[in-house]
Amino acid sequence: MRPRILGVIYRKELVESLRDRRTLFMMVGLPILLYPLLIFGMSRLQESQQEAQQQRESAVAVWGAMPEALRARMAEAPRLKLTQWMGVPAQVREGLESGALAPPPTEPPRRETEQARPRPKPLPDAQWARTAQQMILERKADAVLILWPGFADQVDKGGVGRATVLYDSVRPDSTKARERIADELRLWRIELTGARVRERGLPEGFEQGVEYSSQNVAPEKRQSGMLLGMLLPYMVILLSVLSGFYASIDITAGEKERGTMQTLLCAPVEALEIVAGKFLAVWTITLLGTTVNLVSLSLVFTRVKLMPGMEMQISTTAVLLAFVLLLPISMMVTALFLAVGAFARDFKDGQNYLTPIMMGLVFPLIVTMQPGIELNAHLAFVPVINVALLIKAVFLGEWAADMLFLVMTSSLCYAAIALAFAAQVFERNNVLLGGKETIGGVLDFSRAPGSRPTPGVSILLFSVVLVIAFYGSLSLTKVSLPGMLLTVQYGFFLLPTLLLVQAKGYDWRNTLALRRLPWRGLLGALLVGLSGWAVASGIFIRILPPPESLVKALEKILLMDDRAVPLWQVWLLMAVTPALCEETLFRGLILSGFRRLGQWPALLLTGLLFGLAHASIYRLLPTFFLGVVFGYAVWKTGSLWAGVICHALNNGLMALLARSRETLEQFGLTGQKYLPWEYVAVAAVVMMAGLLLLRGARQSSTPATA
């Protein structure tokens, strides 16, 4: 790919897209208009509805004899209009007056928290219930208050007068009527019980027995954060990706429709340059849209009170974090838009093709709007949902660096997969010229015997393997630790790598660097393997110290859940297995794919992916460092075995130290938070010696074409 040509295509696509009014509106107009409209509109609507409800009188039908004291109290109550015997069937009235009608049985008190959700009480199969229901549903009354036979007598005698309020929970006016009646009955009950206690000379509070109150400890900021968190991820994600919607269609299906795609394809440019230029242009537009969205909403929310007494605030950190989280998701959606848009024949067709992708975004986002759904290990790898939930956590001020790292890593993996798909589509000129092509034809898993993987294949394999390994290991939680380690290493790391080499027909020897390790390389690898751990942990753990919980979890794995497993088995499991499997994946296929980028870009990229695969921000730096060093060993010797030896020794030493408390004591390391500098210095010298040996190792062996 030539950067100059990429720049030419990028600039042209950006200029042309930014001259499109639809794109400008989606990018700038919509966010500027929508947030104030939504917030002011919502709060105004809520206020006006509440006001109207407060103003409106509740029409209540009263069936049954009402004691005078209660009638007088209800008459004084504001906006409560009672109508005695309104709409009552003669039979029901007769039953209530004669005492033939009995109230429905009351349920014994139970623990409400034990139920998954409150069970709605079924409507009794009786004439009074059916008639009242009909009256309320037909809006002849907002509620029906039934005072059961003997109500007044029971109240006078010091017993319990029984009443039932029938209402429609869906209709706000009916709910309001129920609240008003319940309020009056509650106040009357307090009055009554107070009088009874006083009459009998009982101590105050006799009738209550226990008084309790609850206090919400969530600060105002959290309460507003929850509201924002429920609504905003949905809106920000949707509006951000929507900014690139029209631009994506215009520069794919639109170009096809106008015939300019054909002109572009006959110019001396590579397919990858075309897709990269177009992708970067749409992604820029999406990111501009994202910026406008975040700025607009933070301006609106800092100046608005959504609810009385509840301040809305979005901190700059939250806005910046939300932006960072939107980077991979916008990257993924943009790539998908371009790939799918390229299949459409014209602009209209493009809209039809891209709308399902938008719908595919809406459904998971609706899930995240539900209260009570929080980010966890299972959801951290679910695309879209993970980002939305983390943005929600960011607004609540409850995000953790490790979760952010996991979500970013997984989202970048999905973005990489989407980008690889887009690149594959743009390689098919037949698709770009409007010809018919199946998805299977586009994906093209045909063999290319004797070839080598490309950087795209490396990133794609890493992304797929990481997603499989993550979900795979989550589904293996009930399997024993050795079983899980073996499955992940051999099943999720090694097997897909070998299958890919076989399926694509890659050259085994060159792709996986399956060459004899020269003696000098062996010596260098031994020195690097023995010193790598000390240098990595001595330096990088000081920069970003891991939390105690992570250290304990790693120790637990190294100690095999404190089971009495012989050391050779631990080495086989913790040192040899990862060394074989991870080295084949990372220093074998992935490094081979990056090889054409040159030594240092290839080593740094492989190291980065190796670090990311360890799925923790606290382990990123040391594993990145080790990944680069192991890669250097393989690069310089041309043999995968150099990496395998380094890796196995490094892990084996860690497992040994974790089990040998005596050794740690001997070296005065017990209770030390960090490895003392003198040990780090010695290890660094050993490592340098190892690297120097590795540097010249290739000359003494058969030169490889790798």
């Binding site: 002109t263 110019a267 001396p268 037949n430 018919k436």
Partner: protein, 246 residues
């Protein structure tokens, strides 16, 4: 350069069950105008797309100015100027911007590019509209801007796919005369049309394409002599009929 500017041999392209082009071979020398004639659906566009490097052939090879399209696509494409009658330009760019964009893609130096755009604006009489966005152009203006785009990098081979489609007589004639001038300047031109009069007027040699196969080719007088017909239209109908009956 000695030898033909274009040599396409045994070009074959299949779309599913449809054999669009079957074993087509064609050659164009410097300064020569070769016409590719055929009815709609004969496979002209597919064949020209394969020659221009837009579509990969299932079989056969294309060499432009001595460079193989399969192994050295970027260099080979640099020697080709492609124009199709149904192509439009970028709607929200003006002609100068669109030309500058393509000039940069073809690796032209900025100073040379600017001078060449000015030259083409004059040559193709585009001054009155070249600073307006392309979606405001008339059909004739669009076609001139497109021709300018194909001529911009001074390619050795011009491939023109029905360039006079949907043009009025004046604009059509202007395009035809421009093609003639380019050929006189030593450029090889491969030109497809279904307008027989245009082909008779412009082409040094003619290839007749029917159902994806080149059914005859040669100079106009050779074609007429072989077919025993008085004009190209009759010749074509006769050959197409024979082919269909075969």
């Amino acid at each position: 350069m000695t030898g033909p500017t274009l040599r396409a041999e045994g070009l074959t392209k299949r779309f599913g069950a449809v054999l669009a082009v079957d074993q087509a071979t064609i050659q164009v020398d410097p300064g020569e105008v070769v016409g590719l004639l055929g009815p709609n659906g004969a496979g002209k566009t597919t064949m020209l797309r394969m020659i221009a490097g837009i579509l990969a052939p299932d079989a056969g090879s294309v060499t432009v100015a001595g460079m193989d399209m399969a192994t050295r696509p970027l260099e080979a494409k640099r020697a080709v100027g492609f124009h199709s009658g149904d192509t439009q330009l970028y709607r929200r760019l003006n002609a100068r911007e669109a030309l500058a964009y393509f000039g940069r893609l073809y690796g032209m130096e900025e100073a040379h590019l600017k001078a060449r755009i000015d030259e083409l604006v004059e040559l193709l009489d585009m001054r009155s509209f070249c600073d307006r966005p392309c979606d405001t152009y008339s059909a004739g203006q669009k076609q001139r801007a497109n021709i300018a785009r194909a001529f911009l990098h001074e390619p050795e081979l011009l491939i023109l796919d029905e360039p006079t489609t949907a043009l009025d007589v004046i604009s059509g004639r202007f395009i035809v005369e421009t093609i003639r001038a380019e050929s006189a300047a030593g450029r090889a031109v491969l030109f497809s049309t279904h307008i027989m009069g245009e082909a008779e007027y412009l082409c040094d040699r003619i290839a007749l394409l029917h159902q994806g196969r080149i059914v005859d080719h040669g100079r106009l007088d050779e074609l007429l002599e072989r077919s025993g017909c008085r004009n190209l239209t009759d010749t074509f109908l006769k050959l197409a009929g024979q082919e269909a009956a075969a």
